[in-house]
């Protein structure tokens, strides 16, 4: 069961760096096992390329268990491939058929420039978080954790929003390259918790401003982000963010 018998044709985006043009390049692969993960299939491809003296395909990946958010392949027109609620690293070859042709591209968005091949620069997400995706509490300031009871439903809802892995699939799939699902998930997590209230309206304004500055597009309620999110982050978060953003102008004394 170590080797399989799937034959595949891959069309993989190759691009030397951000200053050069890229193109799809065809590769044939044989002996792929259905038990391999999609990235293990790429390991096989790269081992082949190295043996042949060609440059292996560069792609981002790290934990390979669906939680770090680093893997980021756009497979057959869908971020993270054909299965719902999984990342590329958790996609297995049993989701494909012998003889398939698979097209693999990087995330495409102005705010995510290609670094090399399938690797893109997602540092815009970090800058959005740095603009306000936190609660300002220095180490050592905290009171006893149980002194602030939080209803279970509310805590669970915050957790569901916090499950975002920051992979950027929402941006990659959106026709406007909007980052609203990502940004609203963090805003929601903190807005749903009592600890997040003091900075609630300040936070939504600064994060949205940074999101715009990074060049992400607007939301036109298509819902592709929710459909493609490997962690099932809900569109409701965007509604909550919009409500808070609108309210901020009225509720908050500090307009940013």
């Amino acid at each position: 069961m170590s080797t399989g018998n799937m034959n595949l044709t891959l069309k993989v985006w190759r691009q030397k760096n951000n200053n050069t043009k890229g193109a799809l390049v065809d590769y044939k692969l044989a002996g792929i096992s259905p038990d391999m993960s999609f990235l293990e299939m790429f390991d096989v491809l790269n081992e082949d390329l190295i043996t042949k003296g060609e440059e292996p395909v560069v792609f981002d990946h790290d934990c390979r268990e669906g939680i770090c958010g680093m893997c980021s392949m756009f497979i057959n027109g869908r971020p993270h491939g054909p299965k719902d609620l999984v990342t590329t690293c958790q996609l297995h070859m049993r989701s494909f058929k012998d003889g398939d042709t698979i097209v693999v591209e990087p995330w495409r968005a102005a705010a995510f420039p290609v670094v090399k091949d399938l690797t893109v620069d997602r540092s815009a997400f970090d800058r959005v978080i740095a603009a306000g995706g936190f609660i300002s509490v220095n180490t050592g300031n905290a009171q006893d954790a149980n002194s602030l009871p939080i209803p279970k439903m509310q805590a669970d809802a915050a957790f569901e929003a916090a499950a975002c892995i920051g992979c950027g699939a929402c941006v990659a799939t959106c026709k406007n390259a909007s980052a609203m699902l990502f940004v609203s998930a963090k805003i929601s997590q903190l807005a749903l918790l009592p600890q997040g209230q003091p900075e609630r309206y300040r936070r939504v304004q600064s994060m949205v401003a940074q999101m715009d500055a990074e060049g992400f597009g607007n939301c036109t309620n298509t819902g592709a982000c929710e459909a493609e999110c490997p962690k099932g982050i809900s569109l409701e978060n965007i509604a909550r963010m919009n409500r808070d953003f609108a309210s901020a102008k009225f509720v908050s004394e500090e307009t940013i």
């Binding site: 190295i50 049993r94 540092s123 970090d126 995706g133 050592g140 916090a162």
Partner: protein
């Protein structure tokens, strides 16, 4: 016996930390602004330290090899984080957490460090909740707890099966806040390649910008390594693909002792290997052992499906051997027991290298409770299973989904198949009480150091230690050093020591590129992993280890003459990154075997076949081996042993029993 000083403060165990904190020299705010600290690694230990030191006013530079600090492998920790809160009123206390950790570590850790860890554990939970980390709660709005191995209290806090993710995102948000304020300079996609020493003190690092390949010099009054564990020396482990020992190993080569390298944690509940293509192993959280029962068939080579094997033909071997702790024995004990059953021919699945983790009994039990809550008395079995499945789903849904995705089997219907896999390394850079290595000004935190878990780490204690080090310990202890450095001006990076360190780093990269051999980096990594797993894995022997040392030396020679690294050094080149890491793993692998060979006893995760009780349990030798083995790197690839004696003044050393 000790020839190294661990700088443990004098006084009663319970007062050491309090007294230390109130007497450690301070650095005044205006001096902090000119003192620069380099933090390598952005996981729980690195990010929490970077954020906290910046909050305190230091100038901080933080480095990670990933594209964002949020991706450090702490994110993958599933089960939970321990804290001696005693919220469940089940008799927990700081002393009990201290005791459990020392005993769990098989009496091979330092009392003072472990007690401090237990003391600050409660602050961590407070801090994380204040940051908005959504830990699991009960209907009353208070925090929920669950049980983990090696304890008889419920002290584990959690966020579904994503506790590490939530804690890391908390530390990450604290770090990003400081980055946004300009108090931390973040260097993502950078890998540390050298420590720079000036007059014997750590004064900076050489790092490679992984995008451009450019080699950079960075000064710091002190350097902190929070660079994680070295489980990937085994090639297959639950670590991330990028997890590596390079930063710690370069520090080791610059004089930092490497302690107890052979203490490796093999986690009992991982998804079994499915084939040669396998690139990593996936853990199924220990929390599953709260509700899952582990068994194998009573009959050898039983090929029936799990569902066809009747109850009285199943051997619940953990419950049988360890009635007091049952399925919740510590990891080393559970792993060895699984190996014992499989080696004896009772394994299940196609490879026969797996045991069952079965949720049926508890699903039914939960179902009964749910049924009675909704007023259904005497529910039928089907109703019980349906309602119980909902409870199991709520507790472990993401883990079950992950299992189904990887194996293609439905764990709600058939029991999971699991087998032990390399998960965590208790060994690491030697540090004193202040978390300082044997190089002045060079600190080490989290999994990268050796300090708190002895020969075996208890579940849910890694997150505790990483955050304890970063939020509450290092920010105090580093002041003891930095208070004496206030008059040191930032050293320009054209200093000869920087030039020389950069040459060393570049020399290695160029050598690797120019070997132009015939075998890929992964080829060598897999071979190293195979040697390590077979000879220095779950059980070790003198002959095996001696053979392994020879094999690894031969592999090292072959690597340096026949590795093939495509591309050039002046660009994004993941193969070159891997080559540098594997070169260090090969040297580390040898040291691990040397350490395992030196330790003529069995303790925790280190099991020497020659040293076991009649029942097959680990047999310690406290007379001769109650010490930390701290290895010094010597010219060539040679190692000299230093010993730190372990004194147990507050705990009675006994044979560990979970019966």
């Amino acid at each position: 016996m000790s020839d190294i000083n661990s700088n443990i403060p004098e006084g009663e165990l319970t007062n050491k930390w309090t007294k230390f904190k109130s007497s450690v020299p301070l650095v005044n705010p205006s001096n902090k602004r000119t003192i620069e600290v380099i933090i390598v690694g952005s996981g729980l230990a690195g990010a929490s330290a970077a954020a906290t030191l910046a909050e305190m006013g230091y100038k901080v530079k933080c480095f990670c090899f990933q594209d964002s600090p949020r991706r450090a492998h702490s994110i993958a920790a599933q089960g939970g984080i321990n804290a001696a809160k005693n919220y469940q009123n089940d008799g927990d206390s700081v002393y009990r957490l201290f005791y459990d950790t020392i005993k769990g570590g098989d009496y091979r850790s330092r009392e003072a460090n472990v007690h401090r860890l237990a003391e600050v554990s409660t602050n961590i939970i407070d801090q994380c909740v204040a940051q908005g980390v959504p830990l699991a709660r009960e209907y009353g709005g208070l925090l929920d707890n669950r049980s983990f191995g090696g304890t008889q209290v419920q002290r584990t806090f959690y966020a579904a099966g994503q506790t590490g993710q939530q804690l890391l995102l908390g530390a990450y948000s604290a770090l990003e806040r400081q980055i946004g304020m300009g108090k931390v300079e973040m260097y993502t996609r950078h890998e540390m390649l050298e420590v720079v020493k000036i007059d014997g003190k750590a004064r900076g690092i050489i790092a490679r910008n992984l995008i451009t390949g450019e080699i950079e010099r960075h000064f710091g009054h002190a350097v902190v390594l929070g660079t994680g564990g070295y489980g990937n020396v085994f090639y297959l482990s639950t670590n991330a693909m990028g997890s590596n020992v390079t930063a710690a190993w370069k520090a080791h080569k610059q004089g930092a002792y490497f302690a107890n390298p052979c203490y490796t944690q093999i986690h009992p509940t991982c998804i079994p290997v499915s084939g040669d293509h396998q690139s990593k192993l996936t853990l199924m959280s220990e929390s599953l052992r709260n509700d899952g029962r582990i068994w194998v068939p009573k009959k050898k080579d039983d090929n029936r499906k799990a569902s066809e094997i009747p109850e009285d033909e199943r051997d619940y071997y953990l419950e049988r051997r360890y009635p007091a702790f049952g399925n919740l024995v510590p990891r080393d004990v559970a792993s060895r027991a699984a190996k014992e059953r499989c080696d004896a021919g009772y394994g299940v699945g196609a490879s026969k290298l797996a045991v069952y983790l079965d949720f049926k009994a508890n699903t039914e039990r939960y179902g009964k409770i749910e049924a009675s809550k909704s007023g259904i008395h005497n529910p039928d079995k089907e109703t019980c299973m349906r309602l119980g499945t909902e409870v199991i789903k709520a507790k472990y849904g993401n883990l079950f989904d992950m299992y189904a995705q990887i194996t293609g089997e439905n764990p709600y219907e058939t029991p999971m198949r699991i087998y032990p896999a390399v998960h965590y390394t208790m060994g690491g850079l030697w540090v004193d009480y202040n978390l300082m290595t044997s190089v002045p000004g060079l600190y080490c935190t989290g999994e990268a150091n050796f300090s708190d878990h002895g020969a075996n780490r208890l579940g849910a204690s890694a997150l505790m230690q990483g955050l304890a080090d970063g939020y509450f310990v290092l920010p105090y202890t580093i002041g003891a050093y930095l208070s004496k450095e206030i008059s040191v001006k930032a050293i320009p990076t054209d200093h000869p020591a920087f030039v020389e360190a950069e040459e060393r780093a570049k020399g290695i990269l160029n050598t690797l590129i120019n070997i132009k051999g015939t075998k890929s980096v992964d080829h060598f990594h897999k071979r190293l992993g195979h040697i390590m797993w077979e000879k220095c894995g779950m059980s070790r022997s003198e002959t095996g280890l001696k053979q392994a040392i020879e094999d690894i030396r031969a592999l090292r020679a072959e690597f340096w003459s026949n590795v093939k690294v495509p591309g050039i050094a002046e660009e994004l080149n993941p193969e070159l990154e891997k080559a540098g890491r594997v070169a260090d793993f090969i040297e580390l692998g040898e040291l691990m075997c040397i350490d395992a060979l030196n330790r003529n006893e069995s303790c925790g995760g280190h099991f020497r076949e020659e040293y076991q009780t009649e029942e097959g349990e680990a047999l310690r030798d406290d007379e001769d081996f109650a010490y930390v083995a701290a290895w010094e790197f010597k010219e060539g690839v040679n190692f000299e042993l230093h010993k730190e004696e372990l004194k147990f003044e507050n705990i009675k050393v006994a044979q560990r029993s979970y019966k």
